[in-house]
Symmetry: C2
Subunit: 317 residues, 2 copies
Amino acid sequence: MHTDLVAALDIGGTKIAGALVDGRGTILVRAQCATPAQEDGDTVMGAVEEVLGRLARSPLWERATALGIGSAGPVDASAGTVSPVNVPGWRDYPLVERARAAAGGLPVELIGDGVAITAAEHWQGAARGHDDALCMVVSTGVGGGLVLGGRLHPGPTGNAGHIGHISVDLDGDACPCGARGCVERIASGPNIARRAVEMGWRPGPDGDTSAAAVAAAARAGDPVALASFELAARALAAGIAATATLVEIDIAVIGGGVAKAGEVLFAPLRRALRDYATLSFVRDLEVVPARMGTDAGLVGAAAAALARQADTAAAVS
Amino acid sequence: MHTDLVAALDIGGTKIAGALVDGRGTILVRAQCATPAQEDGDTVMGAVEEVLGRLARSPLWERATALGIGSAGPVDASAGTVSPVNVPGWRDYPLVERARAAAGGLPVELIGDGVAITAAEHWQGAARGHDDALCMVVSTGVGGGLVLGGRLHPGPTGNAGHIGHISVDLDGDACPCGARGCVERIASGPNIARRAVEMGWRPGPDGDTSAAAVAAAARAGDPVALASFELAARALAAGIAATATLVEIDIAVIGGGVAKAGEVLFAPLRRALRDYATLSFVRDLEVVPARMGTDAGLVGAAAAALARQADTAAAVS
């Protein structure tokens, strides 16, 4: 990747982060504001414009050659629109057109947030050097993205790698997406916590019933807390094995709040993977923790913008 | 694709088919023999050499510029070896090296049989014009392959698209592959038939307990036969929806003996797909019957050889 400078946005249901990022992935300038997620679409766009405006006040802005956007999904990169589940005011919202205008006409590259995280882990993190990788976030939801043949695979609409909503239990519990037994329905933080409580786990004196509290109990040997993580690990393993069996990957990188549980999650996950990843070409699949921190979305959006520029330059030359 | 001539082999557990195929996919010369599947590896290779030898006796042989091989899997395209489940004499068998020698040094392109079928459907069949497609065979087993971004996606080892061995029921019945609840374990012909019998279905006076007989009973309204196809359809739908959610495809093409059941399979499959393919970017996924006949493996192996040649030519120029 060359040493251009690009602008990047990471748009989530809680915050909108922006940055100017150089060709090595270093963040040079930052801006951020809360997402007015329950307001109308133009108010949300106003917050995006505010972040871009702050970046544009930097003397480095004039060197920016493109804007990469990683957004909560679903996105539609082919139409240039987004419909984030947690931002009801944006439904088929023409984010690309509006962001391009707000960024003084810079070319815009839009990808889903799971794809952005993947771009970052592949460029600078745990998937670096791997030509075929799945990167995941296991947190309030479960998301992901794919690298295939050495390149990011966003898919035609920028949503590929949505591993949270594949069914690994076709008669399982109903998922808010409309399907049943989705990986997210079994393995997300809130579902790990809810299941532990349903199975009889009780929080300590602080009343904390989060997945982190269940992880702490599991670490201390609580059998119900361990069982809830075990089931999450099996669902993740079945989903990761399915991905490897379908597209051939040699590494799965897992980040997000639930991954912070460490071996409470990773030990049963590696065991379960031996049960589900059985064919010769998937048996050596590694599972490792993510290495990028909270800037992964920004760095990944920048990576996508830089990669698109490199493609365009190659096509022109 | 240009109008070169290539040699093609379709190697299965029952027969070894060979052909000379032109750049339009027309089969000009054929040769075939039974697979001595229970013999030692070199005896099986002898049958391959016999087929190639017959092709080489054609005056067209000297125009062949490459050999494409679609083989029963697993294959390892990166090592040039094959280990077909139904050919025990071939374990990590160096098929590419041996076939190259038998074909007078022609460059060899090896892919799995599911990938070969996919290449054929994309080139000339039901997936033609689709840049992102899953093609499947539902028969004694369940196999498949992927087209992503307009190109065949064999994966590094040539096995990508193995949809038969993704788990859609993580606590389901044990599959011979070692996992549980695999699509093949629920939806293959033998499993449809076995389940119907277990559920109380009885064959007619001819004693035929094949999936085709169950399909005929389902067509006549037998509720147990219908229920067995219904469950197969749900497993296929969950697997197809998982594939679409992971990599973004807009069409799934289904061939093989079980697909010949027609609407007995496709009607419940389309219904179940609405239950599992719920996200905006997968909701419009089509499912259609395959169009290529029994020559799909040969035509697809030829397509892979031609595509590799075109890539090599582009890289050189």
